[in-house]
Subunit: 271 residues, 4 copies
Amino acid sequence: MSFQTKSWRTKLQEVIFESNTLGGKIFDVALLVCIIISILAVMLDSVATIHLRYGHFFYIIEWVFTFLFTIEFILRLIAVKQPLRYAFSFFGIIDLLAIVPMYLSVIFVGAQSLLVLRALRLLRIFRIFKLTHFLSEMSFLGSALRSSIKKICIFMLVVLTLVIILGSVMYLVESEESGFGSIPDSIYWAIVTITTVGYGDISPVSPMGKFIASIMMLLGYGIIAVPTGIVTTEMVSLARLKKHSGDTCPGCGKEGHDADAVFCKFCGEKL
Amino acid sequence: MSFQTKSWRTKLQEVIFESNTLGGKIFDVALLVCIIISILAVMLDSVATIHLRYGHFFYIIEWVFTFLFTIEFILRLIAVKQPLRYAFSFFGIIDLLAIVPMYLSVIFVGAQSLLVLRALRLLRIFRIFKLTHFLSEMSFLGSALRSSIKKICIFMLVVLTLVIILGSVMYLVESEESGFGSIPDSIYWAIVTITTVGYGDISPVSPMGKFIASIMMLLGYGIIAVPTGIVTTEMVSLARLKKHSGDTCPGCGKEGHDADAVFCKFCGEKL
Amino acid sequence: MSFQTKSWRTKLQEVIFESNTLGGKIFDVALLVCIIISILAVMLDSVATIHLRYGHFFYIIEWVFTFLFTIEFILRLIAVKQPLRYAFSFFGIIDLLAIVPMYLSVIFVGAQSLLVLRALRLLRIFRIFKLTHFLSEMSFLGSALRSSIKKICIFMLVVLTLVIILGSVMYLVESEESGFGSIPDSIYWAIVTITTVGYGDISPVSPMGKFIASIMMLLGYGIIAVPTGIVTTEMVSLARLKKHSGDTCPGCGKEGHDADAVFCKFCGEKL
Amino acid sequence: MSFQTKSWRTKLQEVIFESNTLGGKIFDVALLVCIIISILAVMLDSVATIHLRYGHFFYIIEWVFTFLFTIEFILRLIAVKQPLRYAFSFFGIIDLLAIVPMYLSVIFVGAQSLLVLRALRLLRIFRIFKLTHFLSEMSFLGSALRSSIKKICIFMLVVLTLVIILGSVMYLVESEESGFGSIPDSIYWAIVTITTVGYGDISPVSPMGKFIASIMMLLGYGIIAVPTGIVTTEMVSLARLKKHSGDTCPGCGKEGHDADAVFCKFCGEKL
């Protein structure tokens, strides 16, 4: 951002990777539109009746977008100073996965199923959001989740243990006919139950099974409070931290004082 | 509200739009009763057996209410100073939609399906609530949601991405017979699963599908904590703000005193 | 609790209505056991196979408990100073409903269905809890819910409006064959969906219906955050109030000072 | 941890029960791997098709792990100073239950069903977590749940009462054909509904039943806010307590300073 004439690479980088300039904003919006259309095309093409009538049309569209995304990928490789580092970054791999399946489907016949990978294109939307005014909100959510990740891991471990043990017990209690044919199936049922999803494809039949299922439902209904409490607590304390971080001490210049502080808590200077 | 003789328009406005006066209160209650009865009539008339027996009766009732609401709409147009501005406001359109379908159903035969629009009459109830002592509660909920809207948008975007990607994967993993016939159908299933609704009209059959479904359920069960945390955090900080609103100590200039404080809690000065 | 000899009525009241004395505790536990056994008897008697074999036995048990509860009811009427006020209080009516159905079932043959009213006996358990050390916890929950009742009413009104409007729309969009036969049925489906219960007895079939259903599920999944936020906010502020209510001002004797208060906020006295 | 030569028992205890030393860490990881493999073997062996092909192989694996866990159990008994106290502790019983079913299945033919008890091995994972850096997180969650246990008990009692009374009412309202065959079945349905699980194996058919069910769903959807509020409140106040722990100002004697405070925020004195 110096006053010197920018190199073409810097300009390219500004357009493709940033969104402060007009060019960058136009590029972002165009990319967003392309991603959404290409995803919609993939989705609609999977519907049998639509595929029969418009299959050829979608095939052409798909090639157009693959071509556009390939050009974009090459431009990104050129624009960055360390192409390899980009290529192996999270977004680099996503960008590659957005174009590779189409080429592979031509070379290998068995690669048809890889076409679903194109749905990963959706992840590219987050690159655009990273650059806009959603950034501070995203970092807020990110740090709230990061600081509660350990507690949530423990919670998930407890849930998994509950689900495995209660699933095994249900395998014993319920007969094979009612869907509890194996321990993995019973655990699947236990997850369906404790998360309050409740498909009903497998459901207990015996009185004892219904009793255990009732306990599991009440458990699942109650312990949802735990992750909610964890995340809320982190968010509340983060929000408080953020709110009081404005005031700067005239003595030492440090921030982070409480709203009711009379003296700087770092240097003792009167605020 | 001066001591001069009010014009008939001011009086009309007081009765129709406000609820401080006795006339206004009676009008509000009468309108509330009319709305609820007319909605109940629409609902009951849609039941085939009831329609067969009382269809004619409901038809008459409906015309009575359409007539009443038409008069009300005209009175509102007269009462306000800027009739056009009212007519194109949110509540103006709702008021119009409450009466138009019935007239259209006479003119056009194909407009029968528009009659369902009458359910929008229900939204008119909120006009009455806007004027009463629920106002401060509504504005509290409103501002809590407004200040968390960005974070919730990001959350919804993450959920949508998860649902589209995992739905596409399930389309690949599960066979067509078990209901995963197209990507849109699979995404519909993914939404049913991640929101813990779990109809069971489509449910995974293969072990791999059940495994992915289990992960989705646990995800959906866990990430409900995020919007809850966002809204709660905003509400907690709003509630605190509200409590500590305004008062500054004349002695030390500090804020943050309780509403019932007579003296400054920091320097003892009378507030 | 004076040193004078207590009257028999005071003693009776202590045993029946309070639980500080040994007699009162024994009475409470005995009553608790009677209530639970009688409820279990009612429940088991409703199972056809058990009724066939043990029906007569349950009939005798039921009469024994009805007799015991009748004696208890009479004793309560004698023990209190204002029998009529007790008889028409919440617990007085519940106590009466616990015994009346059995007598009515003898007199009227059609009163058999009233026997289910005996399940209301369960509410009597809360009288015992009212007297014990759960009292402060209950009053905490009670006041948290009381102060958030208005906000929750508005929330419920919004949910009901959503459910009625979206239910009406679904009635239009979906055919009668898929279960959306009338507006009330469609509203029932909308409630099943938005509350994330998802029975699956009615589920959308058409693409448009599935799309609207998906939006409803995401809505229902998201707005659960609102009541949770409301209740949590009230509880957090109540808990804070409770924590800081201990300190008493030496000057004016008032409570409710903040933890960081230096001077009494009511009289300016140094704390 | 003295500089003297440790006895073999101390060394054994360090390896088996603690995880500060290298040996202890290796033992922990090895144990974790053994537990997970043995659980997976139990789970896979329950699938009929896998059992047919690899049943013998799993049988051998099971005996190997039973042998290993038996040695471990004996070593634990030797390592601790009070073997009996260990044997009757929670983890002692779990350790025993991990090996006993296999031996019993040889002696008694009817003990086959006991083999499911091996799923309890999973609980042994928590012993390993107890010793690692998850300890403080676990104690946080533990104390949050402990201090909210009373309120949650009351909540569960209210839910149980609701479920029993509304289940009984539904038994009356709905016919036997739609699945409400007995009060216990109706209560099972009520739990499925109020916890928003919604299997759909039993669902109301009559208009009155659907109406009551709708109310239950809205209730269940709303009151989930209560346990969430309880747990969140406890966590928020615990988190605040933890942050402000301990430090008292030598100048003014006040507490509540931040962990990173160098000077008292009320009087400016050095802490």
